[in-house]
């Protein structure tokens, strides 16, 4: 299990303060709901956590060695290898569903971590089975529905085995059936001990068993109590 401590995360854009010196810790057994009004900085924070957006200030330390604080330039690659970010409307590359899920597995062609074709095939098929979309393996990505795209994007993140998956408004514009399937997929991630942060406006009616709740308001973040 991974424990991280994040300190002094600030982000300003065009003189507007989006995030104000946030301090919090994360653990890969966390299942976090992140709420806040539109423009409160939820997506910004997720992008910073996943190493996609450079903050004004940032310090990261691991729980094993909490005294050593690493700045952004040192932490960026670690964050990119630890967190996987999913956009509100996921971007699927041109090609088939299989190609998309295999994308992250083909990124180490020239290193010792390179996977054999049969291993990639095996992992992608396992991911397709998890999201129950084996029958769409050869379908072009542009021919999928919104809900299917979201589930393919989740499976694509799952196969690369990140410690955390960050989902930005995954249920926006989804019909009820797609929403139920996506809940099921996310709960599956949790069973695989992947830390999850979800930004959402929806109440979810208890389908997702969050164990922490962060709320962003005017650049500050508070942790809310989650009743049993």
């Amino acid at each position: 299990m991974i424990n991280l401590s994040l300190d002094n995360i600030s982000y300003t854009i065009k003189k507007k303060v989006i995030l104000k010196q946030l301090d919090f810790d994360l653990s890969s057994d966390n299942f976090i709901l992140m709420t806040g009004q539109n423009g409160s900085g939820k997506s910004t924070l997720l992008k910073i956590l996943s190493g996609l957006l450079k903050p004004d200030s940032f310090y990261l330390s691991y729980a094993q060695d909490i005294s050593v604080k690493k700045n952004w330039s040192v932490s960026k690659n670690y964050l990119r290898g630890t967190f996987c970010y999913l956009h509100q409307t996921p971007y699927l590359f041109s090609g088939t569903v299989f190609d998309n899920i295999a994308y992250g597995l083909k990124q180490h062609l020239f290193s010792k971590r390179r996977l054999k074709w049969c291993e990639i095939n095996h992992k992608v098929n396992a991911a397709l089975k998890m999201i129950d979309l084996q029958h769409l393996s050869d379908r072009p990505s542009h021919a999928l529905s919104g809900g299917e795209k979201q589930r393919v994007a989740i499976a694509r993140s799952w196969v690369i085995e990140p410690d955390f998956i960050l989902l930005d408004e995954p249920f926006a514009n989804m019909d009820k059936q797609s929403r139920l399937s996506t809940y099921e997929t996310i709960n599956q991630l949790k069973e695989d001990n992947i830390g999850i942060i979800i930004t959402s406006h929806d109440p979810h009616n208890g389908e997702l068993k969050f164990n922490r709740h962060f709320h962003l308001h005017q650049g500050n973040m508070i942790e809310k109590f989650i009743p049993e």
């Binding site: 996943s50 990119r80 290898g81 996987c84 590359f93």
Partner: protein, 233 residues
């Protein structure tokens, strides 16, 4: 009218009977322009990627500069290179004037701004999520760059084909710095200009037909790779 039809039929005879001189001119033309596009496209696409993806000082100025340079006349490029490469010029020692290498240089300068501007348009219209998705899925920035190029390949192909179209048909620069020397630097446009000035239209028309067929073939190829439209009225 009779002259035109006679010249056209003679042009087809020249083409179909494999006139060596004619086909040599065609070969030189394609060889020079292919090399010019091959050497300039990678750097142009890289610059377009940086212009489309990152904020840095002078970015807007550079975009305006490349857009302006798209319309630079070929003769101005030819004249500038002529002055630079001529014996008295600063690059005279290279002895490049009236060589295919000089023609390639001229054509590279001509197509480069067009390649940058059109590639920039293709890459800028691409969703930023493509880059972020590649990075968050563990791609090294260089691989993410190639993934983004793959996503924009229709637009980039169109840019390369437009660049090729610009240089294969340009006459000003090739004439001035190539010198229109038979067997060496005579390409399709300079040959057409020469034959027309001599009143020998058949070869000019034959070469014009080759240019038109090539343009049609390239556009058919582009249409093919772009696939069929999916909207229905």
């Amino acid at each position: 009218m009779d002259d035109l039809s006679t010249a056209t039929s003679q042009a087809f005879v020249l083409l179909l009977t494999g006139n060596a001189e004619l086909w040599e001119i065609i070969a030189i033309s394609f060889s020079v322009s292919f090399r010019a596009i091959l050497f300039s496209a990678p750097l142009a696409i890289l610059i377009a990627f940086f212009l489309a993806s990152f904020q840095f000082p002078m970015r807007r100025f550079l975009i305006a500069l490349f857009n302006t340079a798209m319309s630079i006349p070929a003769v101005v490029v030819g004249l500038t290179l002529y002055l630079l490469l001529s014996r008295a010029g600063p690059l005279g020692d290279l002895k490049l004037l009236f060589t295919q290498e000089a023609m390639i240089l001229g054509q590279m300068l001509l197509c480069f701004p067009l390649l940058v501007a059109l590639s920039y348009a293709a890459l800028q219209s691409l969703d930023r999520r493509a880059w972020e998705t590649a990075i968050t899925l563990g791609a090294h920035p260089i691989r993410a760059f190639f993934s983004v190029l793959k996503e924009a390949h229709f637009g980039l192909m169109a840019a390369v084909i437009a660049g090729f179209g610009r240089i294969i048909a340009e006459v000003g620069s090739s004439m001035m710095i190539g010198g229109n020397i038979l067997h060496h630097t005579r390409n399709i446009p300079t040959a057409i200009a020469l034959e027309t000035s001599k009143g020998s239209f058949a070869q000019g028309i034959a070469l014009g037909i080759v240019l038109l067929i090539m343009a049609l073939a390239l556009n058919l190829f582009l249409s093919y790779i772009q696939g069929r439209g999916e909207l229905s009225l």
